[in-house]
Subunit: 192 residues, 2 copies
DNA sequence: CGCGTAATTGAAAAGTATCAACACTGGTGG
DNA sequence: CCACCAGTGTTGATACTTTTCAATTACGCG
């Protein structure tokens, strides 16, 4: 549920000051800080050095759907670079966050000149696609209880780290439904 | 709904016989032919030259969820190359299908040696991610009727090309619900 | 303590699935 | 030419699930 990319993180640590070579800078954000706006022009790619962010979309009816939770080494803003379009989701810090920030120009330069980086990005994109495909499918074809059990299995500390509202938005359900399901699962001793 | 990638198609047409250079071969499939199995080892990347295929996942409870419909220039099998894993979905021909087929080795070679191809693949992956993100979000946060209207808007010939069963599986609903919604929309003169 | 945010719960309304029966269509063989 | 069949599409009745709405409680922090 909270995804990470250790390989990319390791690669980026090569850009630590003072060896940044001007490629990447570092920035800090406080919880609840919006890092990227939906429908905004994007000039930087970000890679998380530490902390957790949530990526969500706001639909016209005002409700939000959480795409994923980004942990260490996860990249965002790159999709917009490729399709050269406005952002299609918000990125918001959930914890104290430190990110590497790479300009459009440097991102493209790295892609072209550094085969290792190029492959890391290809892998990262492929991983996102697979994650989304499996998630959407499982989501649609299983009841809420099953989805919750799967979440708890993949990420036992779920309820300690993520607010009920965010979990509900991640599952695309209301908090009311989330609470009912959690209560049921507890009664059946399926979760703690 | 039926996605296409004209740029990639155009690039691939450079590999037409007799100029294939051994990079890509061509293959034909009949409707209903399964081209890729879920949970199978994959040795080739495919790019559609003509026709339509459906990409779907089979969940343990036996129901299927359609990820997308691939049209001209769409690529599949590439995700499995990157994360070096088994296939996570089926690919099935819906119409007569002609595909370019590239071996793992040649795919990697092209990626490394041909910057244009490399960028086309990056763009294709980014487009898939954006498509999936927006689709899942819209899907979750809107009622069936709204989803149907969106489909009809994006792809007016929907009902002529795709079976009711497939449309229902794409929307993650039963055929019964699909029919009820279609009837309602027709009564309200919102669709033809 | 008091305030705002987050979490919980009940009751009614709305939405969707399930199940089962029936209609339509195109193709096949007697 | 008709009878039959299989696949596809249609519909109704009922049961189940989820949302909506509103009221209440718990918690963290200045």
């Amino acid at each position: 549920m909270i995804r990470v990319n250790q390989e990319l993180l390791k690669f980026m640590s090569g850009f630590e000051p003072p060896e940044t070579n001007g490629f990447a800078s570092q920035h800090k954000f406080k919880p609840k800080k919006i890092i990227l706006e939906q429908a905004a022009r994007i000039e930087f790619v970000f890679i998380i050095k530490s902390g957790i962010a949530k990526c969500y979309r706001l639909e016209e009816n005002g409700s939000q759907f959480i795409q994923e939770f980004f942990g260490e080494g996860e990249i965002f803003g790159e999709i917009e670079m490729f399709n050269n379009d406005e952002s299609f989701s918000y990125i918001e810090a959930l914890t104290d966050l430190i990110v590497y920030q790479i300009s459009r120009k440097n991102f493209n330069k790295l892609l072209e000149e550094n085969p290792k980086f190029n492959r890391l990005i290809l892998n990262a994109l492929a991983a996102k696609i697979k994650y989304k495909a499996i998630r959407h499918s499982f989501h649609q074809l299983n009841p809420i209880e099953t989805n919750l059990l799967r979440l708890k299995e993949q990420f036992p500390d779920l309820l300690k780290m993520i607010s009920k509202a965010d979990i509900a938005n991640y599952l695309g359900i209301t908090e009311r439904s989330l609470n009912r399901s959690l209560k049921l699962l507890k009664e059946r001793k399926l979760i703690g």
